[in-house]
Symmetry: C2
Subunit: 698 residues, 2 copies
């Protein structure tokens, strides 16, 4: 009930924010035209994506249906799979619609004042944040009521705990739908945005010599569409999945930890109360005119921190009331909240040019592109240290504080439940966290529109301030997404094992790391993130090539284009990006779904558990490395462009551009894709658990 | 006895080869002068390295001595540590002496014919190979006889199996000495060689505009010294460690698998018989004049394959005789041999420009350095797939074929013993494998000497053919080193666990991957290779900077240097490289030794086991990626230099050079360093097992 209420509050708040943004003026006709072109492009992308996704979901649905018909899967699974995908897609759809609507409105509001601009962009970001949270909770509520009603009417279900078990294990499976959708949105969007970006730059800036964001460039709209497609819809679907996955898996663990209905209620309540804490937090996001970047950042931070403190206080009373014997669970909540803030901070430290690492990286440009690459790679690699320590500490604190120990199965599971609670608490303030994150691409596009439509110097300065802040929040948002994905994945692995034990209590579990199937699973799991990163990077390269050819063709065949007397064909570039991004992500998508099943069929459940652990630990390190290397290269370039080391056009700048180009697929395609990968593999493993038990070689 | 005999045969053979090389003519006075300069540089490097290493070994010895005095370690440990380091250093020393002696002799022999050149270079490589094997077996024999004699005279030791257990667990600890020495040789050498290479190129080629390998460049001798220091001495110490580590750990596993004295004899016999098989193999290495690169490669391959087939045949009879009940162990031998060959082949496939991946990589240079970097990174990432599958298959085959299953501790350990046997068998033909590998840098330097001393066109063509072949064998050698390191590390982890069980039979082992200390260990273990790679890459950058300054200084202050009328000061560059490489490796070395101890003190034995597994699985993938990316970038550049895509000096070539420069520390410093890391951490964990049992937080 609480969850349903939280869902409704969240959606209503999103609706209010949406209306507020919609009521803002759109600006000049030129601004409206550009914004319309971006909207049209985004719609075209979504339309084609849903076609491709529909086909994929159709095929997987049939496979799941056949398997459930043969008795290897529960018969709800295929439908849960569909709803998970549907709600994930819906939140991406709404978020993107709002974002494309807010682009020009933000630019227009920035004409009045910096604070106005910030409010509009942030409100639009909030729509995304609260829609994701609201739909996530809605999906949870619907299935919960449905399953509870269903199982209450079956006589076989005798005990309450058995009923909860059945409910949670069914609910877990809709995570796979959300996961698959997230994969398409995040990876497809990531390929799209970087292909357009790289393609536009290579021909427009380098060959034709026209500036960035110039309306004569046929790929410029695709570039802007990409920001919305990758960073808004993709990020939303990614975190939707983490959010729902962590709540359901923790609820499932509550059952195996012997905490019953109350233990199951805690993560759900945390999520529902998080909605209210987030809403309160959003009211603190405002700034004065002439605010420095530091002050802007502080204003966003204040909102996030207030939400976190609120949820910490409320959770104490909730846990004291519901799980008075296990007050240690409260430390799990605190651990999750602190970890979220700290990971965000380390990301900022390594990627912002206000700190030493990125400053030092920009200096390596004086000895050419090779040293920039080496410097950026080692920066990214070193930046994995703190997040690993933070996540490790969170795991230990939340496990042991919740009374976890290896003495009995029950006490062990209680500790695992604690890890799940930490994941949920980290994600409980997702509404506002995602708002500060989705705000970034909106401000970015507002800047683009301001530039393309020739608004005044002052306006551009304001949108630049907002945009620059957006880069920082995007980087910390990525850190947060990766950290929460790792904790969610751990909760999912634990849920996988308890799911297997439920399905087949007599199974011979041996998760000893020296057991060869586990060991081989670990090896294969550690390799998959590398393979996935490589495939997505190559996809960006290939898609960018097709854009290069199209832009060259238009420059040649459309007369008067470079002189500004003829319009380029924006749609063809958007269409090309859409098509190639959808085509090129088929292989990674198939891999992510098929490999866990294959590993299960060959190595059995022990191998799958090892595989999931291997993917999580290596994927975590690799995703952080790629995100932070990419972010640091980007900001090192910006640091030089701001007038340091010779500024724009110098040899240093050229070297830094090489780093930035390498970093683009790193931070916006491969890194985030690994995020999805580590959760999706766990989800697939859970769904196909029955099949793995029935058939396996070792 | 057999082992001692194998050791003596190996050392005698190495001596014969050494004499044969020494009896070759040295060539013209100019050649002798250059060779002398390289020798002097190498000696200077070794002298200073041994000073630094001496200090490090002294400190660790004192720490170990105090710990053994307090009863946390066996009292043989500090001494075993020293002998391991001593023999490892000695094999590096002899190998390098031979290599520097053979440089000019190979160039001189190539004046006569291609076959003569190949024979001299290969003979010199053989010295290295058989010295490593011989000294490894010698160290094993000495300790075995000593401990056996010692324990036979103690009344406490009542049973044979207890005695063997004591012997093997003591012998395991000298691996840590070998490991530390390998770290210094490999990482220090890797930093040295790449700093000299990059420094020489940046000032000489780019700034002063003089060709590569030009005697006017003060860093040119340091560059040549580096080849010997990194690729000969470093590679030798690396494989010495794998060789000894795999034999001892497998012997230790024989005890816990209940296979007794006979089970212990099998790995030792395999190693001893491998010496003979390797010697026979070397006689098949020869070629005709006008041989193509393919034929040259074939001639080296024939030798290796003949050795492998011989050892396969002999091992069948050995196992049938000694372990007639467990004939499945034979399949472990086969699995190891096949895996060694296959990993070498996949490395060649991904890094040689006769295959598609590197050809495709060279084409990415047409769109600039950024695409070369992205292409090379994804090539390296994708190239991890097959090695992981090969190692995984080897683990499964050798475990299950040896009768391994999870039913009883004994049968489980029998399977682990099988994995150890696979590692030993892969390394059994190390004599000839290492010979083909160490041959590379000798041929490389011979080419350099031929060029510097102005030998005829025909000679240079021959040394180029030998050098080009050397690049391929170096790449396959790296693949082999990584593959064997992974298997050795697995055997060491298994040995670690059985060591703990011996020391403290009542200990509460829970290696379940969901047990938080194991999980956190996995996380930290997965992060360490990234950190290590970053630190070593940064070290190369810093050391190269110091060379750049020194070369610039000499060009300015020594009058007539660029005109060729004055001699540069080669020694100062060598000295600078030596000093900075020794300084900059202190931090990585400390990390590699301290982190496993720290993890043990915090997370206990379960955490250490997770840590070792995490380091091994991620380190394996990362090391392969870095080695193959680097190799492919190198050969893509060479492919362009051979006249493709515009050839030398074209825009494509410039882009490819960026890739090659990034690849240098990848393939010659960080990748190989990770190799050592995954074994050294296991060794340290074994040595400090007693301390971990006594003190741990969780």
């Amino acid at each position: 009930m609480f969850v349903a209420a939280g869902s409704i509050i969240s959606l209503v708040f999103a609706w209010i924010m949406f209306s507020r943004v919609k009521s803002q003026p759109e600006g000049t006709q030129k601004m409206i035209n550009i914004a319309n072109a971006i909207r049209k492009g985004a719609d075209a992308y979504l339309k084609r994506q849903y076609k491709g996704v529909g086909l994929f979901f159709g095929i997987v649905f049939v496979v799941l249906f056949v398997l459930s018909f043969l008795g290897y899967l529960n018969h709800f699974v295929p439908f849960a799979f569909l709803t998970g995908g549907f709600f994930s897609a819906l939140s991406g759809f709404i978020g993107m619609k709002t974002a494309t609507m807010a682009n020009d409105r933000t630019a227009c509001a920035a004409q009045k004042s910096l604070n106005q601009g910030l409010r509009v962009a942030f409100s639009a970001g909030s729509v995304m944040g609260f829609v994701v949270v609201g739909l996530g909770l809605l999906d949870l509520s619907i299935w919960y009521f449905f399953l509870r009603y269903w199982y209450s009417n079956i006589e076989v279900i005798t005990s309450e705990s058995l009923m909860i078990q059945n409910i949670t294990s069914n609910m877990l499976t809709f995570g796979m739908g959300a996961s698959c959708m997230a994969l398409f949105a995040r990876v497809g969007g990531g390929i799209f945005t970087k292909a357009a970006d790289v393609g536009a730059d290579l021909v427009g800036k380098v060959e034709a010599g026209i500036p960035e964001d110039d309306p004569r460039n046929p790929a410029v709209i695709a570039d802007n569409v990409g920001d919305n497609v990758g960073d808004v819809a993709g990020m939303g679907a990614d975190l939707y999945e983490s959010y729902v996955g962590s709540i359901v898996s923790t609820s499932a663990l509550a059952v195996s930890a012997g905490l019953g209905m109350k233990g199951m209620a805690v993560p759900m309540l945390l999520a529902a109360l998080g909605v209210i804490a987030s809403i309160i937090g959003t009211f603190f996001v405002k700034t004065q005119e002439n605010a420095t970047q530091k002050m802007l950042l502080k204003s966003l931070r204040v909102g996030t921190y207030i939400s976190a403190v609120l949820i910490a206080i409320i959770s104490y009373f909730v846990i004291r009331y519901l799980l008075s014997e296990y007050i240690g669970v409260f430390y799990g909540v605190i651990a999750g909240l602190v970890a979220g803030a700290l990971i965000g901070f380390t990301t900022e430290y390594y990627t912002s040019d206000t700190y030493n690492p990125t400053k030092a990286l920009s200096k390596t440009s004086s000895t050419g592109p090779a040293t920039v690459i080496i410097g950026g790679l080692s920066l990214g690699m070193i930046s994995t240290v703190w997040p690993v320590i933070i996540v490790s500490t969170t795991v230990l604190v939340s496990f042991f504080a919740c009374g976890g120990n290896v003495d009995t199965v029950l006490s062990f599971n209680r500790g695992l439940y604690g890890i799940g609670v930490a994941a949920v608490s980290m994600l409980s303030t997702l509404g506002i966290t995602l708002a500060t994150d989705a705000y970034g691409p909106i401000a970015d596009n507002a800047g683009g529109i301001a530039e393309m439509s020739g608004l005044g110097e002052e306006v551009r300065e304001r949108t630049d301030a907002l945009d620059s802040l957006g880069n920082t929040t995007a980087a910390t948002g990525k850190g947060f997404a990766i950290g929460s994905a790792a904790l969610t994945a751990l909760a999912l692995i634990a849920a996988y094992i308890s799911e297997i034990k439920t399905l087949s209590p007599s199974i011979n579990f041996n998760l000893n790391i020296t057991n060869p199937p586990v060991l081989v699973g670990l090896f294969i799991g550690a390799m998959i993130p590398f393979l996935f990163a490589a495939l997505t990077m190559e996809a960006v390269g290939k898609a960018a090539q097709s854009i290069v050819h199209e832009v060259r063709r238009q420059f040649k065949s459309i007369k008067g284009l470079l002189e500004g007397t003829a319009e380029p064909n924006y749609e063809s570039c958007v269409d090309l990006c859409t098509r190639s991004s959808q085509q090129l992500m088929i292989l990674p998508a198939i891999l992510a779904v098929v490999v866990p099943v294959l590993v299960g069929l060959i190595l059995g459940v022990n191998g799958v558990a090892g595989f999931l652990a291997g993917t999580t630990i290596t994927g975590f390190a690799l995703a952080i490395m790629m995100a932070n290397s990419g972010g640091a290269w980007d900001n090192a370039k910006k640091h030089i462009e701001a007038g340091n080391l010779g500024g724009k056009g110098s040899e240093c700048h050229k070297a830094a551009v090489v780093g930035d180009t390498v970093g683009d697929p790193f931070k916006d395609t491969s890194g985030p894709a690994i995020n999805i990968l580590i959760k999706l593999t766990s989800m697939v493993a859970i769904v196909f658990a029955g099949l793995t038990i029935a058939f396996h070689l070792f």
